[in-house]
């Protein structure tokens, strides 16, 4: 039984140490983590951003990523969306007894790869093992700290009349990739999760212009929910154009089949920016240089009418309200 997680791996004794030292440290190694003290100690100057998120995705491996990649990207992106440069992350794993060590290794290797890509260090962590059935294979929590450059002022409440809305690429890829893998929905789509760290894209955007007012990554709830949050927080109206929103063919087909509206489907490597109109083209051009922003497009603008409301001009011309997602996305019957 050397190839699975045992309850003893969570006992705090020898096996626990072995788990950390053999399964995590070799991949995530850095001077701060290697000390294995009770806290990581570091210096930081300036305004700090701090965020946390837990990841319980099922299945843990999916086309385009896995729970490890997701856990790093999610927290890196949350920091990036406040304009911060992400520096340090914590990593906490809750593992179900019986989970395969091989799969754990795959997840940790994936964490290593994406942390390198995003240039962030994991400087503290924890592992717990719970009885079979008390967790679903593997849950991960990550927290992160980043530094916000002095001139940056980004908040969901900063949108102003006339601002342009930029979307960094195609929507719905992550949600459809996950759904295609779920039990009971085994259809094959050539869709991969867009899961990616966005900190470099944000840094490039801020290089192009500091007049970025709002930034957010439209994860669960999709584009529609993020735009509604902006409209509410900033007390402005938002108008978007359906035909300007980039959507992959596979996502479009899967959504048609299941009766989903892609604007409600989750993303993990996309952002929505609300920016000063005069700088919009400059920012867009810069975004297109980055792989994560190659399909970026201006999809709409901020207006003073109907504050709190998002309106979409449909492909056919008429307008309709875009509401937040309510409840869960369920496929249609008929």
């Amino acid at each position: 039984m050397n190839d699975t997680i045992l309850l003893a791996h969570g006992s705090g004794g020898k096996l626990s140490h072995e788990l950390v030292e053999k399964r995590f440290l070799p991949f995530l190694t850095n001077p701060m983590l290697n000390k294995l003290d009770d806290s990581a100690i570091f210096e930081a100057n300036g305004r700090l951003a701090f965020t946390t998120d837990s990841y319980v995705v099922n299945p843990i491996f999916f086309p385009g990523g896995d729970i490890g990649k997701l856990a790093i990207c999610g927290t890196v992106n949350d920091l990036s969306m406040s304009g911060a440069k992400p520096l340090y992350l914590s990593l906490s794993a809750i593992i179900e007894e019986g989970f395969s060590l091989k799969e754990l290794e795959r997840v940790v290797q994936s964490i290593e790869a994406v942390a390198k890509e995003a240039e962030v260090s994991i400087i503290t962590g924890d592992t717990k093992v719970v009885n079979h059935g008390q967790a679903d294979k593997l849950f991960i929590n990550t927290s992160g700290i980043g530094i916000i450059p002095a001139e940056v002022d980004i908040s969901g409440a900063n949108a102003k009349d006339g601002d342009k809305i930029i979307l960094s690429g195609t929507i719905g890829d992550h949600g459809i990739a996950i759904m295609s893998q779920r039990e009971g929905l085994r259809f094959s789509v050539p869709v991969e999760s867009d899961c990616a760290p966005l900190n470099k894209l944000v840094a490039q955007m801020l290089e192009a212009s500091l007049k970025i007012h709002c930034l957010r990554d439209p994860t669960r709830g999709g584009l529609a929910t993020t735009l509604n949050e902006f409209a509410e927080q900033s007390k402005v109206g938002i108008v978007i154009q359906e035909d300007k929103i980039p959507i992959e063919e596979g996502v479009k087909a899967a959504c048609e089949l299941l009766g989903f509206d892609p604007i409600y489907v989750a993303n993990e490597g996309k952002l929505v920016a609300i920016v000063e109109p005069n700088d919009a083209d400059k920012i867009l051009a810069q975004m297109k240089q980055n792989t994560c922003g190659k399909d970026a497009a201006i999809i709409g603008e901020v207006i003073s009418e109907h504050p709190g409301r998002v309106i979409m001009k449909t492909k056919l011309g008429p307008s309709r309200i875009v509401d937040m997602l309510s409840g869960e996305l369920l496929p249609r019957i008929c």
């Binding site: 048609e256 509206d261 011309g317 496929p331 249609r332 008929c334």
Partner: protein, 369 residues
């Protein structure tokens, strides 16, 4: 994407809308039977494209919405039995019954699983031989053939712990009932696309013949619906109502023979209880003698009786889902709409189901128009 984009072309839509406006001289009222049509009409803003003379009403074509409270109560009662796994499609789990919902039962510990294909329910039954796996079979002629196929498969493979609670309903009989009731005067019906793929267009012939009402079967893309409205307006204006298919790529007049055969193999026609309408004769499908082993109604007879006898059924106060399903009222005419009743806290089924008229009106902001 070839097979969708060409049906969403805005230039063609504008031209079609113009043609409808040119044709339409007098006010007419059309009913889109199917919830999928209501959804598409709201999503693409089709009500704004057609002239004011054309009024659209939603019909009873949302399978979740028309599931009777008593049937839901029965499903919930079965869910609470020990050793039972309930499997079902999507939003039915959220619909409130008299006192609870399947979702509530799930939170209380009942094993309820949403499947995307009924074949997965058969697989669940195979994987759990010691449990009774019951599929809550809601839907119209669209879902009936696959449910029939699953029962045939279960019999062939001797999956003895698989049962179906058949709440399946038929569309032409309920259309007849609505026309007989005459509560709302209709000039034309937007015929259900997916249902007609199965049953064809012949079963609707009585609509123009006996009631003088036009009937055009439509697909679900915006251009399909506009073309259907155009044909309906043309028929009403010329005073020559008939059954037409404006969804030729999907529907043949004779329907799908194989699907109909599998339905006939497993089901027999019976009366059915429709929420908001009541018992409609000859409008339901129940499992026949040959396949009775798989009939949840027979496998759990005591419970069915108890649910019926106790007469628990209770409709929420002020909810006008019944009127809305009969086309007597639009969601905007319900006092609860958007205030007490929202998708987060739905009072009636029309707000729960994504195919429900209230949910479509709410989601796409009908009040904004």
């Amino acid at each position: 994407m070839k097979f969708i984009d060409e049906y969403q072309n805005s230039e063609l839509a504008t031209k079609l809308a113009q043609r409808i406006a040119d044709r339409s001289t007098k006010p007419i009222r059309l009913m889109e039977f199917c919830g999928g049509h209501t959804h598409a009409i709201m999503r693409y803003g089709i009500r704004q494209l057609v002239p004011k003379t054309v009024e659209m009403r939603s019909g009873p074509g949302c399978p979740v919405c028309v599931t009777a409270t008593s049937d839901l109560d029965k499903a919930i009662a079965i869910a609470h039995l020990p050793g039972v796994i309930i499997t079902t499609f999507g939003d039915i789990i959220r619909v409130p019954g008299s006192y609870s919902s399947l979702q509530q039962a799930k939170a209380e510990g009942a094993d309820i699983r949403v499947v995307y294909s009924i074949m997965d329910a058969v697989e669940i039954a195979k994987a759990n031989p010691r449990k009774s796996v019951i599929f809550i079979g809601i839907g119209f002629e669209t879902t009936a053939p696959t449910i029939a196929a699953s029962i045939i498969k279960a019999k062939k493979e001797e999956v003895e712990n698989f049962y179906v609670l058949s709440l399946l309903k038929l569309t032409p009989p309920v259309m007849k009932t609505l026309l007989d009731l005459g509560e709302v005067k209709l000039d034309g019906i937007v015929g259900p696309g997916h249902v007609s793929v199965i049953i064809g267009s012949y079963p609707y012939e009585f609509i123009p013949r006996n009631y003088g009402v036009a009937c055009v079967i439509s697909g679900f893309e915006p251009l399909d619906i506009l073309l259907c409205i155009d044909k309906l307006v043309e028929q009403v204006e010329s005073g020559k109502p008939q059954v037409e298919i404006a969804y030729r790529r999907g529907v043949k007049p004779q329907g799908n023979k194989k699907a109909l055969e599998s339905m006939n193999e497993v089901f027999e026609i019976d009366g059915a209880d429709w929420r908001g309408i009541g018992i409609v004769p000859q409008s339901g499908l129940k499992i026949n003698q040959k396949y009775q082993h798989f009939d949840a109604d027979k496998a759990f007879p005591d419970l069915s009786l108890r649910a019926k006898r106790s007469n628990l059924e209770k409709e929420p106060r002020g909810c006008r889902c019944g009127d809305i399903l009969r086309g007597v009222a639009t969601p905007l005419e319900c006092k609860l709409f958007g205030k007490v009743c929202t998708p987060e806290k739905p009072v009636g089924p029309c707000m729960v189901s994504s195919e429900g008229a209230c949910a479509a009106y709410y989601q796409y902001g009908a009040s904004y128009e």
